[in-house]
């Protein structure tokens, strides 16, 4: 090593604190980069494995035409190298279940023949036992073990047949068709009488789905199967088996299987979904019925066309830029300070003959040494931090998929290389300017200018003017009047000095931008996550409706439901969350209330709620849910949104709370649909009279005015005819009864039990029903419960028994329908993703905050420490501590103002960029500058500046005046 090298090393060693600060800056930058990259790869890896475990790793699937030898076609494709692997699932038949079993397992026992590789491709795994090997062996869901006491080795005996469509009793013609509601065959032909139904078609029940067909089993044979294994999970994303018909059981190598067959394939070398679709079309030789495993493909980084991808890459691009800028600034400041402090040294070296090249090399060497120590350190810190965060996160993630996939940090080598290279590039970029400055410095300048702040040209001009002896130190400015000489000195420093204040101001501006980026990210991602994860917020939901009964008025119904709810609350595992009755009702309201979503009915690209719009007379109409919420829940909610609950109980002046907006998803973009622009009075259509016959219900439709081409919204009343048939009648011929209802409040959120998706909602307290019963049909009942100790399965079962007993037998009434939903079981990827995204945002926010604060600390502290000799002089001639503090405080305020305003402007730009990324996949959002985060950002920045200034002053004072004055130039 040459002399300059040794000198560099020595000076690094001699200035331990400064070296440590520089190394820390580099390490922090590397840590941030690797943390972001590792989070991405780890989450992706985890989601990939989770998806693989729950649904298999197939990439495309389709129905196969050849049911006699379904594997042949795929085998040929595999041999031709078109696909990597394949699996075939083929219907064997549908087992008949007892009524009791039907309650647990669904309509049938669908038996599916699986080919080799179905375990990895389709995610069919045995939790106990082994996979089936022949047509007499079967694996079933482990509910059979829990509920029916079946053990491995037991034999299941049941009649097995084919599903066949039969015309419902009241349907009139034998040529009737109805759309095929299949998950896998959305484009298949309509269902006709006598059609054999495959496992992808939902159960047909004309009385429930409103169609014209029922179904029956045909070609029934007695079959015996030996149970060889249990699955704890049936992959529900197997699109070939409808969720609706039952829980599938799997057998293998059945030579007689000749039902509908579905092929699942994997392939390699694909970079986008279009290529996969094309290849799948070649393999399956059909182009209509191909389903892609889109979530899997997303985790394989195969690009799709969805808007969410544009959002994702947009956000990543904005964040990456912010990170790079933050890192460059941090490292640049660290080096600039190091070089500035050593200017005198360089002057000395230059005076004893060091060339510019040697000086530049010295700084470059310093950068290199700092990078060699800082980058690996940062990588370790970043990866370690990720490992700790993810370890802490694991319990929350595994809940979602039952702990099937271990959550391990995945550090990809390219991420490490990329982070290291980016950081190194940042270091080189950051030392370039200081190095150039070092090379430019002349020996004398460097020796002289040491520790002397440079005065700007403007400052020189200003000072030249201030020579009137009579008006020296006159308190002209308000700061001088309030803060005295400290304020005046600060003002002079700010007006006449160069660069150092600016560095601090820039770092403050940057801090604001960083914090606001994090804030905006949280805000806008929050919208997206909320829209995607608008899942139910309670564990078990009960829904029911009593058979319409003319003799049963609304208050008697409330009594029955309330009794049922109170009985359910008695269950030891139940934590009641409230109950409600709801009705779909028509309302009419003036234009000034109508939200945007009702106004865009002409624009087909705009988001439109399905049931609302401009009526022919210019006012607006909509079908909304009117929900009577139990008084306790209603009161609590009213208080929460700042309303007085008492005002909602006045029978002479009924009032409601309405959703301001609702979430929707039109397939490509999430939407936040504005429902109401402002609160106000609406007219509720409570009933109607069609030529003496009461209207039984209201539907709605859009029609186009043939003259103007404008879409008009109309209500479609219907009346009950003979045999309970329903006929629609023209609205113009109906005399409607209306009642006035005040929408007193518009709420951004609704109580958990109400929800925020789909149809607009108005809520009123239950007691209002005693005097005001809106709606022409009998209401439906919903109740929500959380489960104590996570015993949601037991709770769902016991609530079902209690509710059915209460509503059916005890009340003497009949139930029209009853549902129970165990939402904990249904918690899906959306929820898991939401958790992950939230944690990621938190992580990102913390790191950005750290960088912002570190940067402010670095610049502010150093700008003071570099001036300690100047301060010592002032103190030696009588500057008191108080005056010193006032001066620094005033200077800080002025940095603050200089940094805050550009910082805010820049933040608004970054914030808007992020917003426009998010709106690509979510419409109906208005841009709101995140003021709360702005306030937080300003508070954090001010605090950081205050602490830094205090530390800087402390350091200046700790160096006592004598030492500071004596401080050598070198």
């Amino acid at each position: 090593m040459n002399a300059m090298g040794r000198f560099t090393l020595k000076s690094l060693r001699a200035n331990k604190v400064r070296t440590a600060v520089t190394v820390a800056g580099v390490a922090l930058a590397a840590a941030l980069l690797i943390a972001v990259l590792t989070s991405l790869t780890t989450l992706n890896d985890y989601l990939y494995h989770a998806e693989e475990a729950t649904s298999g790793n197939w990439m495309a699937m389709s129905k196969l035409d050849d049911t006699d030898n379904p594997t042949q076609q795929l085998n040929e494709a595999k041999e031709a190298g078109k696909i990597d692997d394949y699996a075939v699932l083929q219907d064997v038949g549908f087992g008949q279940l007892s009524n009791k079993q039907r309650n647990v397992f669904g309509y049938y026992f669908p038996i599916v023949n699986i080919s080799e590789n179905a375990d990895t491709l389709c995610g069919i795994h045995v939790a106990e036992g082994r996979m089936p090997e022949n047509e007499n062996e079967i694996i079933v869901i482990d509910t059979w073990k829990k509920r029916e006491g079946i053990k491995i080795g037991d034999t299941l005996e049941m009649p097995v047949g084919q599903r066949m469509a039969v015309l419902a009793d009241n349907a009139s013609t034998s040529t009737a068709e109805q759309p095929n509601k299949s998950d896998a065959n959305s484009n298949s032909a309509n269902i006709k009488e006598g059609d054999i139904l495959d496992s992808s078609i939902e159960y047909l029940d004309a009385s429930k789905d409103g169609g014209t067909f029922n179904e029956t089993l045909t070609n029934i044979q007695e079959r015996k199967f030996s149970v060889v294994g249990f699955c704890d999970y049936i992959p529900y994303s197997l699109y070939s088996i409808s969720y609706d018909i039952g829980i599938a059981a799997f057998t293998a190598n059945d030579p007689n299987a000749n039902g509908a067959a579905f092929g699942y394939i994997t392939m390699s070398g694909m970079s986008n979904t279009g290529q996969i679709e094309q290849r799948a079309e070649e393999v399956f030789s059909n182009s209509q019925d191909i389903t892609l495993h889109s979530s899997m493909l997303r985790y394989m980084w195969i690009r799709g066309d969805g808007a969410i991808w544009n959002t994702f890459f947009g956000i990543v691009a904005v964040l990456a830029s912010v990170i790079i800028v933050a890192c460059v600034s941090l490292i640049y400041n660290a080096f600039a300070i190091s070089v500035a402090e050593r200017m005198g040294q360089f002057g000395l070296l230059s005076s004893i003959g060091a060339s510019r090249k040697q000086l530049r090399r010295s700084v470059m060497l310093e950068a290199l040494l700092v990078a060699i120590v800082g980058i690996p350190l940062g990588l370790l810190i970043g990866i370690g931090g990720c490992a700790v965060t993810f370890a802490a996160l694991e319990p929350y993630l595994i809940v979602a998929i039952g702990g099937k996939v271990p959550y391990v940090i995945s550090v990809s080598p390219w991420a490490v290389v990329l982070a290291a290279c980016l950081t190194f590039a940042t270091v080189i970029l950051s030392v370039f300017i200081p190095t150039w400055r070092v090379g430019r410095v002349s020996a004398i300048d460097a020796l002289h200018s040491t520790n002397e702040r440079r005065v700007s040209k403007r400052g020189r001009k200003k000072s030249a003017k201030r020579t009137d002896l009579g008006s020296l130190w006159k308190k002209r400015r308000i700061t001088s009047r309030i803060f005295g000489i400290g304020g005046t000195l600060a003002h002079i420093n700010n007006k006449r000095g160069t660069s150092k204040g600016k560095t601090a101001a820039i770092s403050l501006a940057l801090a604001i931008v960083l914090l606001m980026t994090a804030g905006s990210l949280n805000t806008f991602i929050g919208y997206l996550v909320k829209a995607a994860d608008e899942t139910v917020k309670y564990d078990v939901g009960i829904g029911a409706q009593l058979e319409p009964d003319a003799s049963l008025d609304i208050n008697s119904q409330i009594q029955i439901y309330e009794d049922a709810y109170n009985s359910m609350c008695q269950d030891a595992n139940a934590q009641p969350q409230g109950w409600l009755l709801s009705n779909l009702i028509p309302i009419v309201f003036p234009e000034n209330l109508a939200g945007d979503s009702f106004r865009n009915t002409n624009d087909s690209s705009a988001s439109t709620p399905t049931n609302g719009g401009k009526l022919a007379d210019g006012s607006y109409g909509a079908l909304v849910y009117l929900m009577y919420i139990d008084d306790n829940t209603f009161n609590a909610f009213a208080e929460k949104i700042g309303a007085s609950h008492a005002e909602f109980y006045n029978p002479d002046h009924p009032k409601a709370i309405a959703t301001k907006s609702i979430y929707d998803n039109n397939g490509t973009t999430y939407q936040l649909n504005e429902i109401f622009k402002q609160s106000g009075n609406v007219q509720v259509i409570t009933g109607g009279d069609y030529k003496g016959t009461p209207v039984s219900g209201f539907g709605s439709e859009y029609s186009t005015n043939t003259e103007t081409g404008e879409a008009a919204f109309t209500f479609v009343p219907s009346i009950k005819g003979e045999n309970d048939t329903t006929t629609t009648v023209p609205m113009d011929d109906v005399k409607v009864q209306t009642e006035s209802l005040d929408i007193a409040y518009l709420a951004d959120e609704m109580p958990d039990i109400v929800g925020m998706t789909g149809t607009p909602r108005l809520i009123v307290p239950m007691s209002l029903a005693q005097t005001h019963s809106f709606g022409t049909t009998s209401p439906s009942f919903s109740a929500a419960f959380n489960a104590k100790d996570n015993k949601h399965e037991e709770l769902a079962e016991s609530l079902t028994n209690i509710a059915k007993n209460q509503l059916n037998s005890a009340s003497g009434e009949k139930l029209a329908w009853f549902t129970v939903n165990d939402y904990l079981i249904q918690q899906d990827n959306a929820h898991m993703m939401a958790t992950i995204v939230n944690v990621f945002c938190l992580l990102f926010t913390s790191i950005l905050t750290l960088i912002a604060v570190a940067n402010v600390f670095n610049t502010v502290t150093n700008s003071l420490i570099l001036r300690r000799r100047e301060f010592a002089v002032m103190r030696s001639i009588g500057l008191s501590d108080k005056q010193f503090r006032t001066m620094i405080m005033n200077e800080c305020v002025s940095f603050g103002v200089k940094g805050l305003i550009p910082g805010m402007l820049l933040s608004a730009v970054v914030s808007y960029l992020l917003f426009s990324m998010v709106t690509q996949s979510m419409s109906g959002l208005a841009f709101n500058f995140p003021w709360t985060y702005a306030a937080i950002a300003i508070a954090i920045t001010t605090l950081a500046m205050g602490v830094s200034a205090a530390f800087g002053m402390h350091r200046c004072k700790a160096n006592n005046v004598v030492e500071a004055l004596r401080m050598d130039n070198i």
């Binding site: 002896l469 002032m874 001639i877």
Partner: protein, 227 residues
């Protein structure tokens, strides 16, 4: 009357075996209007003595009283007031505030004290110091000699009880050195300003009323020059 009394002043750096006595039990007093030169080799403790008298440092033991004020019994805040009113400091390296112009630097102690600038005195000082026409210049626009004149102006502006100068000519050429010393002597004679000047220059030392020689933190010689 004694304007300065130094009483058993000791300043020790470090502890136990590593302890160094920068000043070791130094006592003397200076009468009002006296011009005292302090001489001694490098590291003998001269500057430490000056800083202790000026109230910018605190001693390990001993007392200093200036114009009847017991310097070290004051609080930090009182000490700051003491420095701006009772003491004028002149350094070898001038130590001007870089962003302030000539008149602002000179009047800074007055401004710190919150008092109005005595325009007449300032005007007289500017003339005497030869700084007329340079009122608006910044330190970086002045030569070394000019900067030192500003520093002297700053020290004299408040008419302090005592001016402490630490090698005020150490950084100047002969011509400038003579001029600066003449300025100090003039203010001593004409304004009766008490002066304590550290110097290596024998000629300067001999022009003082009294020479105090310090070696290894002790006074080894204290003599009055008889003219």
């Amino acid at each position: 009357m004694d304007i300065l009394t130094v009483d058993h002043l000791t300043k020790t750096y470090g502890e136990n075996e590593a302890a160094t006595h920068a000043l070791n039990d130094v006592s003397f007093s200076v009468a009002e209007g006296e011009f005292v030169a302090i001489v001694g080799s490098s590291g003998s403790g001269k500057s430490t003595l000056l800083h202790l008298i000026g109230g910018v440092d605190r001693p390990t033991s001993g007392n200093v009283s200036v114009n009847g004020i017991d310097v070290y019994s004051s609080t930090d805040e009182q000490l700051a007031v003491f420095r701006r009113r009772e003491v004028g400091l002149v350094y070898q390296f001038y130590n001007l505030v870089p962003v302030l112009n000539v008149v602002e630097n000179m009047t800074l102690p007055v401004a710190l004290d919150g008092r109005a600038v005595n325009v007449q005195r300032l005007s007289v000082l500017l003339s005497k110091l030869g700084l007329r026409g340079r009122e608006g210049h910044l330190p970086s626009q002045l030569s070394g000699g000019q900067q030192q004149r500003v520093a002297i102006g700053r020290a004299l502006m408040n008419a302090p009880s005592i001016v402490l100068a630490d090698e005020p000519t150490g950084n100047l050429d002969t011509k400038n050195s003579r001029e600066i010393m003449q300025l100090l002597r003039d203010s001593n004679k004409e304004m009766g300003q008490t002066m304590l000047v550290i110097t290596h220059d024998e000629e300067i030392a001999l022009s003082a009323d009294r020479i105090i020689a310090i070696e290894d933190g002790r006074i080894v010689r204290d003599e009055r020059i008889r003219r």
